[in-house]
């Protein structure tokens, strides 16, 4: 077997399923018919699991992380101008460099630019609601956008989503793949949201709430919220591990 210059890391840490929402969560009604009933089959990592897609600056454009400008037609979108920034880390605290982060959200009125969204709040002609960026060499990322509005949805008859931004992250491997949602500090709708409450662990919920970050705000221009994203960690190869690549 060929050797790299440095020992290759081994398997990823086992995912702690106690901090993630289970698949079957009756308070979130759509999950009832869409959740597997049998136990997941636990597998040790192979080359198929420790690899995953690699993205580069050829894949995206610099404006893609600016939701204020990336769909502007006649001017800027309506809404509170905000920066969302933070770091993608692994569970060992290492930054995850050059990884793709994609976001999507409703506009300031709580309406998505999507043919399936029929909420009565208006579409903003200058707001698309999606963006993407690569983390830098230390795992840092940022977006500029407008703060999304809350909106009603058909779960219970008076269910409302708190303001949130959907976040998709890759990491270095297909087993780190994660989609989550970022919430905003101080939003009273968080504690009554059925989707938030699918998460059984209060600390895990807190970890999805981005605090206001006045130090990153731009005076007379926009506020800022900080959202760090933690992906699964990976064992170091302290001793010869049994994971064989190829």
């Amino acid at each position: 077997m060929l050797r790299n210059d440095k020992p290759r890391p081994g398997e990823f840490f086992q995912r702690d399923r106690n901090l993630h929402p289970p698949q079957y969560t009756p308070i979130y009604k759509t999950s009832v018919a869409r959740s597997p009933r049998y136990a997941l089959l636990s597998l040790e990592n192979t080359i198929s699991e420790i690899t995953g897609p690699v993205f580069g600056h050829n894949d995206i454009d610099p404006i893609d992380n600016d939701l204020i400008k990336n769909y502007a037609k006649t001017g800027d979108p309506i809404g509170e101008r905000i920066i969302v920034h933070g770091r993608v880390l692994d569970e060992s605290g290492r930054g995850v460099p050059n990884t793709l982060v994609e976001i999507w959200q409703a506009n300031a009125g709580g309406r998505y630019r999507h043919k399936k969204d029929t909420y009565l709040a208006p579409i903003d002609p200058n707001f698309g609601g999606c963006g993407r960026t690569l983390t830098d060499e230390n795992g840092f990322y940022f977006f500029r956008t407008v703060k999304p509005g809350a909106y009603p949805w058909r779960n219970y008859v008076n269910s409302w989503r708190p303001a949130h931004i959907h976040v998709s992250v890759f990491g270095t491997s297909f087993v780190q793949r994660l989609i989550t949602q970022m919430y905003f500090e101080g939003d009273p709708l968080i504690k009554v949201c059925p989707i938030v409450n699918t998460i059984p662990d209060p600390k895990a919920i807190d970890q999805l709430i981005a605090p206001l970050d006045m130090n990153a705000a731009i005076p007379l221009d926009c506020l800022a919220y900080k959202f760090d994203i933690v992906l699964r960690g990976r064992r170091s190869t302290l001793f010869e591990n049994r994971l064989e690549g190829n």
Binding site: S31, C130, V175, L243
Partner: protein, 208 residues
């Protein structure tokens, strides 16, 4: 008190929701925003191997097709090489082969499909060999955490019979939920792979 381990905890998953297309496939949501959408070309034009189509539907516990799913695909090339820095043969990958793709279901029919090259076998653990397979990751409204599964090929009967992962599935009758059925349409191989989230013949999903 012992020392603290100081590990961080993984960020909790949340459902991709009904508007996942806006973020990950905006063209499907009905508008053009990015110069280039990601994930529509898995294998590129130059990769060797058999060009195939893979398609299917995702079925929920009521037996209905799920029409707002997004599926991501990860695979090796026809020689069993992954386009990833940790694959020591990655230099042999053809230009344009990424091995990753992203597809959504048709809003009316629930059908999804993608074109790629059929992957080759890859190394398993402890000197074993894995049958050709494609890794899939499934997210949608109502799915709280992405579902990992694998697609195998029904014309690889011998390799499948020896595959360490398929052989780990205790209930032998469930192994076939991971095997796609080959047919030929307009001269091109098409593999059918229906994913059942729940109910009769529920697909085997993995905790990886």
């Amino acid at each position: 008190m012992p020392q603290s381990l100081d590990y961080l905890r993984e960020t909790a998953s949340q459902t991709a929701g009904p508007y996942v297309h806006i973020g990950l496939a905006p063209g499907a949501a009905g508008f053009q925003i990015f110069r280039r959408e990601l994930g529509w070309d898995i294998a590129g034009p130059n990769a060797p191997g058999e060009r195939i189509r893979v398609e299917g539907i995702v079925i929920d516990g009521t037996g209905s097709p799920v029409k707002d799913v997004l599926i991501e695909v990860w695979q090796a090339d026809a020689n069993g090489v992954h386009a990833h820095p940790e694959d020591q043969r990655r230099d042999q990958i053809a230009d344009g082969f990424r091995g990753w793709g992203r597809v959504i279901t048709d809003f009316e029919t629930g059908l999804w499909g993608f074109d790629t090259v059929k992957p080759g076998p890859v190394a398993g653990r402890n000197g074993s060999r894995q049958a050709p397979h494609i890794s899939l990751w499934i997210v949608a409204r109502g799915i709280n955490i992405g579902l990992h599964t694998r697609l195998y090929f029904d014309d690889e009967a011998d390799a499948n019979a020896a595959d360490p992962v398929l052989n780990m599935i205790e209930h032998v009758n469930r192994r076939q939920t991971l095997v796609a059925a080959r047919s030929v349409r307009d001269g091109k191989p098409v593999y059918r792979f229906d994913i059942r989230l729940q109910g009769d013949n529920e697909t085997v999903f993995f905790d990886l």
